[in-house]
C-alpha cells in the first residue's frame, strides 16, 4: 500500500478512482427514490458505471501493487483517500444539486480519463481507460440534456437549477487540485492543471449558455487545500464509517 501511495501516477489514478467510488456511492443512495421511475433507473445505471469504473482503476492499481481492489477501496485511512470535496457532498435529496454535481464531474472525468488513455508507455492503463470512455461520454450527454431541459422548464425548475449551480460552482475549482501528500507539485503539473481547468470550464459554459443559467468558475490558489490533499470535510469520515460498516463486523471475512 505504501509504495502505491508514494507513486505520483498511482496517486493520480487513485484520485480518479476515489472520485468514481464516491460519485457512485452517493448516487446509489437515490436508487429507488428518484423523482421519475425512468430517471431513477437511468441514474442508477450511471451510479453502476461509476462504481465499475472505480473497480477498473482499483484493479489496475491492485495488479501493479499486488493488492486486493476491495482493500484499496475500503481499507485505507481517511487521509489516504484523494477524492475531491465535490463528490463527497451529500445531495440532501435535492435532484437539481445531484444533476449539477454529476454533470460537472462527468464532464471533468471525460477529460482526465481521455488524458490517461493516451499513456503511451502503458497499454494496459490505456485499454482500461478506453473501456470507460464510451460510458463517460453517455453520462455527459445525458446530464447535459437534463441541465438544459430542466433549466428551460418553467420558473420553479430554472430557479432550483440556478440555486444548485450557485451552491456547487464555488467547489468546482478544487476538483483540479493536485492530489497527494507530497511536496508542492512541479511547474509542468501546474501548467497541465490550468489547461485541464480551461478545457473543462469552456465545455461547461457552452451548456450553461444553452440552459440560460449563470456561473463563474475560478481556479483556487495553490495554498488552498482540500480533499485531494487529504483535507476532507468531517462528513467524509462518516461516509467511510457507513461504507465499511459490514466489513468491520468481521474484518478479514469473505462477504
Amino acid at each position: 500500500m505504501e509504495s502505491m501511495l508514494s507513486n505520483p501516477l498511482a496517486v493520480r489514478i487513485l484520485s480518479h478512482a476515489d472520485d468514481k467510488l464516491m460519485l457512485g456511492h452517493v448516487q446509489s443512495d437515490w436508487t429507488g427514490l428518484g423523482p421519475i421511475l425512468e430517471e431513477d433507473i437511468a441514474s442508477s445505471a450511471m451510479a453502476q458505471d461509476d462504481l465499475s469504473h472505480a473497480l477498473t482503476l482499483y484493479q489496475y492499481l491492485g495488479d501493479r501493487y499486488d493488492l486486493d481492489p476491495d482493500v484499496i477501496a475500503f481499507e485505507r485511512s481517511a487521509e489516504n483517500y484523494f477524492c475531491c470535496d465535490l463528490v463527497t457532498q451529500s445531495d440532501e435529496f435535492d435532484w437539481a444539486g445531484s444533476v449539477v454535481k454529476r454533470w460537472l464531474m462527468a464532464t471533468y472525468m471525460l477529460i482526465v480519463i481521455a488524458d490517461l488513455s493516451k499513456a503511451d508507455d502503458d497499454s494496459d492503463l490505456g485499454a482500461r481507460c478506453d473501456r470507460i470512455l464510451p460510458e463517460q461520454e453517455l453520462q455527459v450527454l445525458h446530464l447535459q440534456r437534463w441541465i438544459i431541459r430542466l433549466s428551460n422548464a418553467g420558473d420553479e425548475a430554472r430557479e432550483r437549477m440556478q440555486l444548485a449551480l450557485d451552491r456547487i460552482a464555488p467547489l468546482a475549482g478544487m476538483v483540479v487540485e493536485m492530489p497527494g501528500h507530497g511536496p508542492s507539485p512541479q511547474e509542468s503539473c501546474l501548467i497541465r492543471r490550468e489547461e485541464i481547468f480551461r478545457e473543462w470550464t469552456a465545455g461547461l459554459h457552452e451548456t450553461i449558455k444553452q440552459a440560460g443559467l449563470n456561473a463563474t468558475f475560478s481556479l483556487p490558489e495553490q495554498t488552498q487545500l482540500g480533499g485531494r490533499r487529504s483535507r476532507h470535510a468531517d462528513h467524509f469520515k462518516e461516509q467511510l464509517v457507513e461504507m465499511t460498516e459490514v466489513r468491520r463486523v468481521d474484518p478479514g471475512a469473505s462477504w
Partner: protein, 340 residues
C-alpha cells in the same frame, strides 16, 4: 397478490355483462388465447387485472427500499454493484407494471399518489425490518425465491401484457435469486459471527416468506373469477407447499435451523424453538411445517407492522421531493410508450 382495491365505482358483476360477449371472452381464455388491451373484457376483469398489476407495481418500488438502504454499506465493490443493479431491476419491474396498469385505465400519477396516501397497498413482506447484511441475503434468497415461484404461475395467465411482463421479470428475478443464494452460501461458509448473523436473519424471514403467498384460499377458489379467468393460476397453499418442499431441505443443507419464532412489535425475534414439524412425509413427498402466525399477518396488512410507516413515509418523501421534476418535464403527467 390480489388484495388491492382501486376504485370506489362498483364494477358490473359478470352477470350484468353481455352474456354473448362474456361467453366469447371465457371461451378465449379456456382456449389459451391471450387477452389484449384492445379486446373486449368484463369490467370486473379489467378492474381485477388493474388491481393486481398496480399492487404488484407498488410492491416492486416499495420492495426497493429495504435493500436500497444497504447499498451504501455493501461490503465489497462487486456486492455494491450487484445490489445497486438488483434494486434498479426492482424499480424497472415497477415501471413495466405501471405501464401495464396505465393501459388498463389509471394514470401513473394517480397510482403513485394512491400509494403514498395509503389508498392502495403493496406486499406485506416489505413491512419488516432488515437490520443486517444477512437480511439482504435472505430477501434475495427467500423472498425472491418465493416471488419466482408465484410469478412463474402468473406468467401462465391470460392477460397478454401482464404475462409478457412476468416473463421478462422472471428472467431478472432468477439472477436475483442466484445472487441471494451466493450471498447465503458465502455467509454460511464464513466465520462464526457470520453464521450467527445469517441464522438470525433466517429466523426473521422464514415465517415472513411462508406468509408471502397469502392465507389459504376460499374452498371454491377455482370457480371464482380470479382463477376462472386465469388472473390467478395456483392456490396460495399449493404455492406455499412447493416453497417449503424446495427451501426447507436447502436451508438444512446449508446448516440453517428452521425455528418457530416469537417477535416483538418492532419485528425483533424474542424467542426461538425448533420447528419439530419440519420433516419429509415420504408418502406425500411433501415437507410438513408449522404455519406462520396469521394474526400477525392481518395486523401487518392493516398497517400495524414494524416498518409500514417508515416505508410509506420514505416513498411519500421521495414523491413530494420529486414533484417539481415531474411537473417540469410533463406538467405532472409522464409520457411513456405502451406496455409490452
Amino acid at each position: 397478490m390480489i388484495n388491492a382495491s382501486n376504485s370506489a365505482k362498483p364494477a358490473p358483476t359478470p352477470s350484468q355483462e353481455d352474456p354473448e360477449l362474456l361467453a366469447q371472452f371465457e371461451q378465449r381464455i379456456s382456449d389459451g388465447i391471450l387477452i389484449e388491451p384492445g379486446d373486449w373484457m368484463p369490467e370486473a376483469y379489467r378492474m381485477g387485472m388493474l388491481a393486481m398489476a398496480e399492487h404488484h407495481a407498488n410492491s416492486e418500488i416499495i420492495g426497493a427500499l429495504p435493500e436500497g438502504e444497504w447499498i451504501t454499506r455493501a461490503p465489497s465493490l462487486r456486492r455494491k454493484l450487484a445490489l445497486t443493479a438488483k434494486v434498479q431491476d426492482e424499480v424497472g419491474h415497477g415501471q413495466m407494471l405501471y405501464r401495464v396498469s396505465q393501459e388498463l385505465g389509471k394514470s401513473r400519477d394517480d397510482m403513485l399518489r394512491d400509494l403514498v396516501t395509503g389508498k392502495t397497498k403493496y406486499h406485506n413482506c416489505f413491512n419488516y425490518p432488515a437490520p443486517t447484511w444477512a437480511d439482504i441475503a435472505m430477501i434475495q434468497w427467500l423472498i425472491d425465491g418465493a416471488a419466482i415461484m408465484n410469478q412463474k404461475t402468473l406468467a401462465d395467465g391470460a392477460y397478454g401484457p401482464y404475462v409478457r411482463t412476468m416473463n421478462r421479470i422472471n428472467m431478472e428475478e432468477a439472477f436475483h435469486f442466484k445472487s441471494g443464494e451466493d450471498m447465503v452460501l458465502t455467509l454460511m461458509s464464513g466465520t462464526k459471527s457470520q453464521k450467527k448473523m445469517t441464522q438470525a436473519a433466517f429466523d426473521r424471514w422464514w415465517p415472513v416468506t411462508l406468509m408471502f403467498f397469502g392465507p389459504a384460499d376460499k374452498p371454491n377458489a377455482e370457480s371464482r373469477p380470479p382463477m376462472r379467468w386465469r388472473m390467478k393460476i395456483e392456490k396460495n397453499d399449493s404455492l406455499r407447499q412447493r416453497f417449503v418442499n424446495r427451501f426447507a431441505p436447502a436451508a438444512q443443507d446449508l446448516g440453517l435451523k428452521i425455528n418457530i419464532v416469537t417477535k416483538d412489535d418492532q419485528g425483533n425475534v424474542t424467542s426461538t424453538t425448533p420447528d419439530e414439524a419440519i420433516m419429509l412425509d415420504e408418502e406425500s413427498g411433501n415437507w410438513t411445517f408449522t404455519q406462520p402466525d396469521w394474526d400477525e399477518f392481518w395486523r401487518v396488512i392493516r398497517g400495524n407492522g414494524p416498518c409500514n410507516d417508515h416505508r410509506l413515509s420514505l416513498r411519500r418523501f421521495s414523491y413530494e421531493q420529486g414533484g417539481w421534476v415531474r411537473k417540469a418535464v410533463g406538467s405532472g403527467t409522464i409520457s411513456t410508450p405502451p406496455a409490452a
